[in-house]
Amino acid sequence: MQSSVPETAGNKHASDRNTLLAIAQILRKYNLKNTEELLKREANLTDVGSTEDTSQTDSEVSSVLSAYKSEGDPEVYVGAYTELKRFVEGALDIYKHELGMILYPVFVHMYLELVYNGHEEQAIQLMERFGPDQEEYYQADLKRLSHVTKKDHMKGNELTDTFKSSEFIIRMSRDTLSILKRHLQEKKHSVVLNIIQEHLYFDMYEGVARNKQQIEATAGAVVGEATRQDNKAKVYYGLLKEPDIQYLPVEEEEDGEGDGTDKPKKKKAKKDPLFSKKTKSDPNAPPIDRIPLPDLKDADKLEKVKALREASKRMTLSPDTLPSVCFYTLLNSAGVVTSAEVSEDSSLLAVGFTDSIIKIWTLVPQKLRAMKSAEQLQDIDREADDVLVRMMDDRSAETCRTLHGHNGPVYRVAFSPDRTLLLSCSEDTTVRLWSLQTWTCLVCYKGHIFPVWDVRFAPHGYYFATAGHDKTARLWATDQHQPLRIFAGHFSDVDCVQFHPNNNYVATGSSDRTVRLWDCVTGNHVRLMTGHKAPIYSLCFSVEGRFLASAGADSRVLLWDLAHGHLVAELTGHKGPIHCLAFSRDGHILTSGSQDCSVKLWDFSRLAEEMVLEDVNISHNPDIKKSDSYLLRSYGTKNSALLHLHFTRRNVLLAVGIYEGS
């Protein structure tokens, strides 16, 4: 309905009427008779008769829904864009870069309008002429767009659907916006004006216009930046108060409640100002009953005690005391292995294969045992202390076991915190839960209708999250065959998912180049973080829960402050897609592993110190730290792409890689 001529009142009326007709049509189509009646009565639409030809109304519908209908002269687009570009380039330096942000979305929508209206040649011409001018990080999308040259192509194309259905968000200072408005009013260039009105959303803020670096840092997502509203909700990023454990391993460990199995806190950490917040009094922690958590079993408590004892022997890492790295090479695995995961206590390694199997190795002398048969189990004294040991069959001990069941490449495996369960997700759209005692499949969760890329257990068990090609992430409980929550909002594949250490939030990274944080309780997205320039493959929360590290195909590690959703640091140095991230157990060091066959160690404690010093609030974006001085070390592997990184409780880094052959 965007006619290019200034609309007269009559025109407007007609268009309104058409819209209503279209709505009525839809209602009829879906058999919503009552609603249709109501609408008709309200709008005095008496003439919507059944006499109307359905095909005609169908086209009517599509014309209303199509945002690109335009009778505009295809030749004016090049001129309009050139003029807009000239205006941007001619603007004052302080506004120039912010104004420049509108060029890409305007360009894209111009192209789509041309394609939609069948002006293929002009569209290609426009793309060839101005496409290469756009920012580097948009080129991949432009390439995909340039394949769309016909109206038919637009149907079902993920990218064009995204552009069509959502507004491109641009954050702009008040001054810049007023300059832009004035310009548009002066020029009355209907093409540009329409596009900006229909498809662009300006999130205005008070203050000075941003400079080029600031803009580039958060640009790159498919649908622009995050609005302020997106990141306004409060996030309880603090850690949960752990239930007290009776056993105190060492005297000094008085407040031994630590952080439980997943991230045991260490007294050493408290020396650091950043980590000084005790979990007990953490004002940012969510209420303990915010999300129901499973009760601790006796075995879990024993496990926690063990973890704490181990943690007390932990080496505290710093730039002067770097960790040791033990590298597990998967030989003969090039092109066969898709994923690997080490259990929390570093005793098991699970590997997913392209040929649908999962293999589990033990990394400790203890072999993998299966449970005894039912008859044998009956003979066991159930009151015995070592009942858990007795029920396992020693004769079945093996160092490597294979799980069969999936029907496609296994893209991720995840251990439950107590190591008795394993989750796996696959191309066959299912998620499977395996028992590591009977070594059989327990449950097959069918909810995703497309390949599932990632699955993660919650740090306290019971819950797990999945992410997949269907653009959703889902929250599940192991005892429910349906998802508890569906997190929908990403515009492309959700490539990775990660639980917050306090179990209340789930972070997702997507091919639409955004990172989102979802509230498990409400199902809403509470943070939207933009700045990646390529799909995101890995996420990791910092130990104290405040920061989130993300990395992906753009070979950079980005650090986000969850308090306000700001990008705080950008760590560059890798030369290939990054597939794994890990924080050391004491939270001092961040490690990243990439397909460029290197592991890099970053000085996170220094980074965190510097970040804390800064006065940060919701509107004030902190400076993004870019210096590569945070890089402590880089260790090359011998032609082995990194698959997984894991810190043991004693802070030895375990790395798993695929040997690609020499």
């Binding site: 340039s146 092109g335 590997v351 893209y411 191309e427 390949p451 195909a553 290939g576």
Partner: protein, 631 residues
């Protein structure tokens, strides 16, 4: 192709669509329809490939596979293409003709029977897990599982341009993790403030010094198990490059000393060290050839290598060293350093020397024979008669020396072994003992029987290798009576024809493919091209001793010029020039360093000044080589 083309380019051509349409039975597809189809199909294909890329990324691969495409099709609810699976690349073949260029996949028709009858392929290796320390407390150990701390390319760069090493700041050095010497950062910071004195410091860490000591001791010690371990370490450890200069010096010095002392065992141990270093994939050895080649050469041709030549098996050492030399030539020969040419010349000169000790003669022949059939044909074959004469003298002559007799026996055996496969292909089947006797003198009958025997075994691998040589390019061995030094007709312009000297015996025209000549030259172990251009006039008074060890032979200056002694070289040249017996010193410099020398050959030329009279005549061009520089 410009960037814009890359960006917005490719789609299927109309022709392709039409060809595909024809293949499914649609005869005359109108252009319009073909265009529409081409556009749409291209678009759909791109969509599928884009989706497939997602599967590739999630499988942590960098290469798109057929299964990715299948998965992408599945996601789009399209039936996958069954049966198109390939683990590796599917090679695209290219064909052009009739103004059309085609890329296609070769699909061979397979006979089902063949498929069924072929033995099952080997099972793929199972995925296995192997753990090692990538780093220990922040320091990367230099073990074979880790990448070498300094890559071979980097070593090469540093050897060519040492400035690059200097330009690296101390910080970068620290970040090049795993340098055992730089475990502590504060040490580095000190270095930063200190001003750099030398281009490249060769400081070894304590660990490295210990390692060096252990390795060298083990290599020459008496414990065989330890030695095996040490050699294994030398052959596989990636972090040795810093110690390499010392290792090479150790070997060179060791050979010098032990040759004089005739300590055969130690020489063998040192050669095994050379072998181990050659086998190490992470080392850039080119810089140190000037030390290694003379040492190895010494072990091949030295007159005496052991205390009791009549009892000890120094022949094995000569054989082993010859193989090493062949390996060096194979690995390091380039058009600039001409290692093989020079080595070949050295041996052939020794072979041509009438006064040469039989043991050295054996070494020379063995050294040449390891360099391939072509070398054997050109350099050994013409000399067989002379060698045969000497053997005859030694074995049946009046003065019977036991040592010479044994040596003669070995030479005989060696020649028979080397020449029989060659003669088998060069000569036509009717073999007559008399012909052989005429041609090869004393060795005739032995060669005759060997050739007959070789012919009896048809599938001889050596023979087949020889069979591939271009038999027509080189004439069958000319009868030794031909004295005319006229160049024969050459099939290739680039070949260098060398006119032989005035000596009737060897006055045969030898023609060889020049460097890079298109003529296929097949060597058993060395497939590279080479030029062998030596046919120096040999006079009775000339003595040649390519041994780098001072011996009692008065007419030979045996001196090895190493990199550290360029001045000494000059002195020798002057000293010998003033001598009554004119000595020619050939100083051959390695390409990579101006002051280092590779091989030093001392040639005494009675009556001639410095420099060698040798004229090389090509058919078209005349090439005159001065003695010191090889082309």
């Amino acid at each position: 192709m410009t960037e814009a083309d890359m960006l917005y380019g490719t789609s299927l051509s109309l022709e392709s669509i039409k060809v595909i349409a024809e293949s499914v039975g649609v005869g005359n597809l109108p252009d319009e329809a073909a265009k529409q189809l081409a556009d749409d199909v291209s678009y759909r294909l791109k969509q599928i490939v884009q989706d497939a890329a997602k599967f590739m990324h999630h499988a942590k691969r960098m290469k798109l596979s057929t299964s990715d495409i299948d998965h992408a099709l599945k996601v789009k609810n399209i039936e996958p293409l069954y049966g198109f699976s390939a683990h590796d690349n599917i090679p695209f073949r290219f064909a052009s003709g009739g103004g059309r260029e085609l890329h296609f996949i070769e699909e061979k028709e397979l006979d089902l029977n063949d498929l069924i009858n072929t033995p099952l392929p080997k099972l793929p290796l199972d995925v296995s897990l192997r753990a090692h320390w990538l780093c220990i407390d922040g320091v990367q150990p230099t073990i074979p599982e880790n990448p070498p701390p300094v890559s071979k390319e980097q070593q090469k760069l540093e050897s060519i341009d040492p400035v690059t090493k200097l330009n690296k700041t101390a910080k970068e050095k620290g970040e090049a993790a795993g340098k055992p010497t730089t475990g502590k950062m504060h040490k580095l910071r000190n270095v930063e403030t200190v001003h750099v004195k030398q281009l490249a410091t060769h400081e070894l860490s304590v660990e490295q010094q210990l390692y060096y000591k252990e390795i060298t001791e083990a290599c020459v010690g008496s414990d065989e198990a330890r030695r095996a371990e040490a050699l294994q370490s030398l052959a596989s450890d990636p972090g040795l490059h810093e110690m390499l200069p010392r290792m090479c010096t150790f070997i060179a010095e060791g050979v010098k000393v032990n040759v004089v002392q005739n300590n055969l065992a130690l020489l063998i141990y040192l050669m095994r060290m050379v072998k181990a270093l050659l086998d190490n994939q992470s080392l850039y050895l080119e810089k140190y050839l000037h030390e290694l080649i003379p040492s190895v050469a010494t072990c091949i041709v030295s007159k005496q290598l052991c205390m009791r030549p009549e009892l000890d098996n120094h022949w094995a050492l000569r054989d082993f060293a010859s193989r090493l030399m062949a390996q060096i030539c194979k690995n390091f020969n380039t058009s600039t350093n001409n290692v093989q040419t020079r080595v070949t010349r050295m041996f052939s000169q020794a072979l041509r020397d009438e006064k040469m000790q039989l043991a050295s003669l054996y070494g020379a022949i063995e050294g040449l024979s390891e360099l391939g059939t072509e070398v054997v044909k050109v350099f050994i074959l013409p000399r067989v008669k002379h060698v045969a004469d000497r053997i005859e003298n030694a074995t049946e002559g009046p003065i019977l020396s036991n040592i010479d007799k044994i040596a003669a026996g070995h030479i005989k055996h060696l020649l028979v072994k080397v020449l029989s496969p060659l003669l088998k292909t060069l000569r036509q089947p009717p073999d007559y003992v008399e012909e052989y006797r005429n041609e090869f003198g004393y060795l005739g009958p032995a060669l005759h029987t060997a050739v007959l025997k070789a012919r009896a075994q048809p599938a001889n691998p050596a023979a087949s290798a020889v069979g591939t040589t271009n038999a027509t390019a080189t004439a069958t061995p000319a009868p030794p009576t031909i004295a005319a030094p006229t160049p024969r007709g050459l099939p290739s312009q680039t070949g260098i024809v060398q006119t032989g000297s005035s000596q009737p015996g060897s006055g045969r025209t030898i023609m060889m493919g020049g460097a890079g000549a298109p003529r296929p030259v097949v060597g058993s172990s060395n497939a590279s091209k080479y030029v062998i251009v030596t046919s120096r006039p040999t006079t009775p008074s000339q003595a040649l001793q390519p041994s780098p060890v001072p011996t009692s032979n008065s007419s030979t200056v045996v001196k090895f010029v190493t990199a550290s002694q360029p001045v000494a070289t000059q002195k020798i040249v002057q000293a010998t020039a003033s001598n009554q017996q004119m000595t020619k010193l050939v100083v051959v410099c390695m390409a990579n360093s101006g002051s280092s020398t590779c091989t030093t050959q001392a040639v005494t030329n009675a009556g001639s000044n410095l420099g060698v009279k040798s004229v090389f005549v090509t058919q078209q061009q005349v090439k005159i080589e001065s003695g010191t520089e090889e082309q």
